[in-house]
C-alpha cells in the first residue's frame, strides 16, 4: 500500500540545501541592502496606521512612549543613541518585550495582539510627533 523510503535520499539533501541556500542568500541581501546604515527615527504604527513618529535628534538621551488604546497597552522606550525597545505590553505572550533592543533601519518590533508595529526608519519626513 505504501512505498516507503527509509533513508535520506539525494533529493532530500537537494531540497534541504536549496532551502538553506535561499535563506542564507536572503539574510545576506537583507543585511547589505535593507538594514544598511544608521537609523534616524522611530515610526509607531497601530492597526496598520501611523500612530506617532519620533526623530532621534529631537530626543534628549531617552523617551518613554505610552500607548493605551482599545487594542492594548504598551510602553516603548526610545534611546537617542538610536535604539528602541518595548518595555511593557498587555499581550499574553510578551514576545515584543522579549525582542529587546533594535538598532538598524527597517528593523521592527511587532505586537500582533495589540496591532502594534515599532519600526526604525532611515530618513523620516516628519519631525517629532504627529498624532
Amino acid at each position: 500500500m505504501v512505498r516507503l523510503v527509509n533513508s535520506l535520499t539525494k533529493a532530500d539533501a537537494f531540497i534541504i540545501l536549496s532551502v538553506f541556500a535561499i535563506a542564507i542568500a536572503s539574510i545576506i541581501l537583507l543585511n547589505t541592502i535593507v538594514y544598511a546604515g544608521k537609523p534616524d527615527g522611530v515610526v509607531i504604527e497601530l492597526n496598520g496606521k501611523l500612530y506617532a513618529k519620533y526623530d532621534f535628534s529631537s530626543i534628549n538621551s531617552q523617551k518613554m512612549v505610552e500607548i493605551n488604546t482599545e487594542y492594548g497597552y504598551n510602553v516603548i522606550e526610545i534611546q537617542a543613541s538610536g535604539k528602541v525597545r518595548v518595555t511593557k505590553a498587555s499581550c499574553p505572550d510578551q514576545l515584543d518585550v522579549a525582542m529587546r533592543w533594535i538598532n538598524k533601519p527597517n528593523q521592527m518590533l511587532v505586537c500582533l495582539p495589540n496591532r502594534l508595529v515599532v519600526r526604525l526608519v532611515g530618513k523620516p519626513e516628519i519631525d517629532v510627533v504627529s498624532y
Binding site: 512505498r3 535520499t9 532530500d12 534541504i16 535563506a23 535593507v34 511587532v110 500582533l112 495582539p113
Partner: protein, 179 residues
C-alpha cells in the same frame, strides 16, 4: 486519489476503522499543537507556530491520500486554536495548516519516491511559515515582516525534517496495524 471527494465512503461500516484512525489523528494533532504552543518561538512573529503538528498530515497523505489529510489538518487547526488560542491564532493555524498540507500533497505526489518524507516535510514546513508570514503581513499591513522569512526557513529545515522523520518511523512500524 488526490481529488477523489468520496468522503472515503464513511457510510460503509467497513470504513469505521478509517474514521477512528482519522479521529485519533485529529486528536494527536490537537495535542501536538498544544505542546507546540508551549514551546518558545525563536523570533517575534506573534501567534507564529513551528508546525510540528504537520506530522499528522505527513502520516495521513501516504496512507489515505490528500483529502482526508486536508480535512484533518483544518479540523485540527480550528479545534486546537479555539481551545487553547484565540481568533488570531486560529487564522494563523488554519492558513498554515491549509498551505502546508496542500504543498505536502503536491510534493508527495510528484517527488515522493525520489525524496523521502523528510524532504516532503521540509517543503511543507517552508509553506507553513510562508503562509504565517503572509497572514501577519495582511493583518498588520506591513510588508517588512517578510524579513523574518529567511530565519523561519532555516528553522523549518529542522522542524520539517523532524516531522518527516517521525512520520517515516511511524509508517514503517505502524502501517501493518492499520492494514
Amino acid at each position: 486519489m488526490l481529488f477523489h471527494i468520496d468522503l472515503w465512503g464513511l457510510s460503509k461500516l467497513k470504513n469505521t476503522k478509517k474514521l477512528i484512525f482519522l479521529s485519533l489523528m485529529t486528536a494527536i494533532g490537537i495535542v501536538l499543537q498544544v505542546i507546540e504552543s508551549y514551546m518558545p518561538f525563536p523570533i517575534d512573529l506573534p501567534g507564529g507556530k513551528i508546525g510540528i503538528a504537520n506530522v499528522v498530515g505527513l502520516i495521513i497523505i501516504p496512507m489515505l491520500g490528500g483529502v482526508p489529510a486536508l480535512i484533518v489538518a483544518v479540523l485540527r487547526a480550528c479545534i486546537g486554536s479555539l481551545l487553547f488560542g484565540g481568533v488570531i491564532s486560529a487564522i494563523y493555524s488554519v492558513s498554515g495548516a491549509i498551505a502546508s498540507t496542500l504543498t505536502m500533497i503536491i510534493a508527495y505526489k510528484y517527488i515522493y519516491p525520489k525524496a523521502s518524507l523528510i524532504g516532503v516535510g521540509v517543503i511543507g514546513a517552508v509553506a507553513h511559515n510562508t503562509a504565517q508570514v503572509t497572514v501577519a503581513t495582511i493583518l498588520l499591513g506591513n510588508v517588512g515582516i517578510f524579513s523574518y522569512l529567511p530565519i523561519l526557513m532555516i528553522i523549518s529545515i529542522f522542524t520539517g525534517g523532524f516531522s518527516g522523520l517521525v512520520a517515516q518511523m511511524f509508517l514503517i512500524r505502524g502501517v501493518k496495524i492499520y492494514d
